[in-house]
């Protein structure tokens, strides 16, 4: 099965918020950034950062979830089963990306790549979000293949 990865080219992001509103709309039928699984956060001033699930494998959130609520699907997507989640938030404590958030009332949410057809990618006018098939099993950042969450963080820090 082909796996896909959603890459973010932060330098192209203008903070127009189209992805954020599109996400909250397709997921929860509201236009509210709190309901979006993708976040645009300020790194100070006009420098922006786009936060969303990196679909790690193995995934920290999956490893610590004791409720069987998080799992890595066959296609590599890390998904949250809201019916099994009790809002213990252990996953939030270990996610290095802050990619698990809540939509208010203690309902945890995270990106599921829209089942393979991410809405955010379709609405981004600046090609800052790229959904592509994985050639290597591991993401490629700056010409270097990244094999673990730790390496991914280091690559992103550079």
């Amino acid at each position: 099965m082909t796996r896909y990865v959603l890459d973010v080219v932060t330098e192209r992001c203008t903070g127009c918020m189209k992805c954020v509103y599109a996400c909250s709309w397709v997921k929860d039928r509201v236009l509210d950034p709190d309901h979006a699984r993708i976040k645009i956060v300020s790194k100070g001033g006009i420098v922006l950062d786009v936060t969303l699930c990196r679909h790690c494998n193995p995934a920290p959130c999956v490893e610590v979830c004791e409720f069987d609520a998080l799992r890595v699907k066959e296609d590599g997507t890390v998904v949250l089963d809201e019916n099994r989640c009790t809002d213990c938030k252990a996953c939030r404590s270990v996610c290095p990306f802050g990619a698990i958030t809540d939509s208010g009332g203690g309902m945890l949410i995270k990106c599921d790549l829209c089942g393979g057809d991410p809405e955010c990618v379709k609405v981004c006018p600046h090609n800052a979000l790229i959904f592509r098939p994985v050639v290597s099993q591991y993401p490629n950042i700056g010409g270097k293949s990244v094999h673990s969450v730790r390496e991914l963080l280091e690559a992103k820090e550079r």
């Binding site: 936060t51 404590s93 290095p96 802050g98 009332g105 203690g106």
Partner: protein, 393 residues
């Protein structure tokens, strides 16, 4: 073979869930629960804060369990006769079991001070308390006694609802079971910045008033109040087991690495029981939902032939209080010391974030604490978690 589960909290429900997953037929599972429908306490504060429907608290796995044929008995266990393999419930009736799983949870500790039974004094532990607080419309002076996780969840929600909130913590700093002093003091500073009054190191002596508490008297003064919330910790719900002969430690049920108790055919888990710390292997009392779920899996496996021992728990805590995020993974220096490990804490502070590492004298990482007003991305919790997992495996 009939499995009887006492307690309809997350520990009991997830034990049923994992037993089903291991192939036990639903008709063989019987859950005795006091509250219906079962809910998660984790969401109470967030529901109060956001004004979202109370239904959000109800646990999503319950319909799944019902569909599978699991029997729910709305009652309360009052006694256990292990020689007859029978649990006595409210109406005096006995329920026979082949295997018993005790997950009766905990109940709020009510401190022995004068005035705690006055009409405007409550705990913040169940749906009833949540409903009462939702009804309060005008802005009140609310005193929260106890600066632990429950106290802070209540403070966050009530402050957002426009109340004047004061937290009184007996110990020198907030979240004493979660954080070390330096990050906890930074947390206090942040929360004061969001309009929460915090007083640490002050002990409540009396709640003063006729029918309602009007003043809170502490060892250093007296303050007016309209409402008081007791958030002074919990105690394991094990009184009903007094005559059963089950072995307790600090009031909680002692369990081994397979969550077996001192009685045969009886497992226990969750807030009613002790658990094991991963790093030290020591017995600890940590009333946290994910620990109940961890042992639920262990119990289900043990009862279905996979008797692998649990390696214990590496705590992984996240809380948000107003706009402040709190993360703790592994041990704090304070908890490490209570478990017999000598350690030091190293902190790195910037304008809106403090990050701390707890290290053992030999250099091994034991824990990580983060307090931030910023987004939580790029934290080092997972690094520390994996270091602990691999170092102490």
């Amino acid at each position: 073979m009939d499995y009887v589960i006492i307690g309809g909290g997350v520990g009991g429900l997830y034990t049923a869930y994992y037993l089903l997953k291991e192939g036990v037929p639903g008709e063989r599972l019987h859950i005795v629960t006091q509250e219906w429908p079962p809910y998660t306490r984790h969401r109470l504060g967030e529901i109060l804060e956001s004004g979202s429907p109370i239904d959000n608290a109800y646990l999503g796995i319950v319909p799944h369990l019902k569909r599978a044929g699991v029997e729910f008995i709305i009652s309360r266990a009052t006694g256990l006769d292990p020689s007859e393999k029978k649990v006595i419930i409210d109406n005096g009736k006995g329920i026979s079991y082949d295997e018993l799983i005790i997950s009766t949870g905990a109940s709020p500790f009510i401190p022995p001070i004068k005035g705690v039974h006055l009409s405007n004094v409550s705990t913040f532990y169940d749906i009833k308390a949540l409903e009462e607080l939702i009804k309060v419309k005008k802005s009140l002076r609310i005193t929260i006694i106890g600066g632990g996780l429950v106290g802070l969840a209540a403070a966050s929600a009530l402050r957002r609802r426009g109340h004047r909130v004061i937290i009184l913590e007996r110990l020198p700093y907030l979240l004493p079971t979660v954080l070390d002093e330096f990050p906890a003091r930074i947390l206090s500073d942040y929360l004061r910045g969001e309009g929460v009054h915090i007083t640490c190191g002050e002990e409540v002596k009396e709640l003063v008033g006729g029918k309602r508490a009007q003043y809170v008297r502490t060892n250093s003064g007296i303050r007016g109040t309209d409402l008081v919330i007791l958030a002074t910790g919990v105690r394991p719900e094990t009184k009903w087991l007094e005559d059963s002969g089950i072995e307790l430690g600090r009031g909680a049920i002692k369990i081994d690495r397979r969550a077996r108790t001192s009685l045969s055919n009886v497992h226990a888990l969750g807030d009613a029981a002790l658990s094991h710390d991963y790093i030290t292997g020591r017995e600890v009392y940590r009333p946290l939902g994910f620990i109940a779920a961890h042992y639920a899996k262990v119990v289900a496996k043990d009862l279905t032939g996979d008797s692998r021992a649990s390696k214990g728990i590496i705590p992984t805590l996240y809380e948000r209080v107003l706009d402040v995020h709190i993360i703790r993974v592994g041990l704090s220096m304070a908890e490490a010391s209570s478990l017999g490990l000598s350690s030091e804490v190293f902190c790195d502070k910037t304008a809106d974030r403090v990050e701390c590492w707890v290290k053992e004298a030999g250099g091994a990482k034991l824990g990580y604490e983060l307090i931030t007003k910023d987004f939580v991305r790029r934290n080092k919790a997972w690094d520390v978690y994996t270091d602990i997992r691999d170092t102490f495996a």
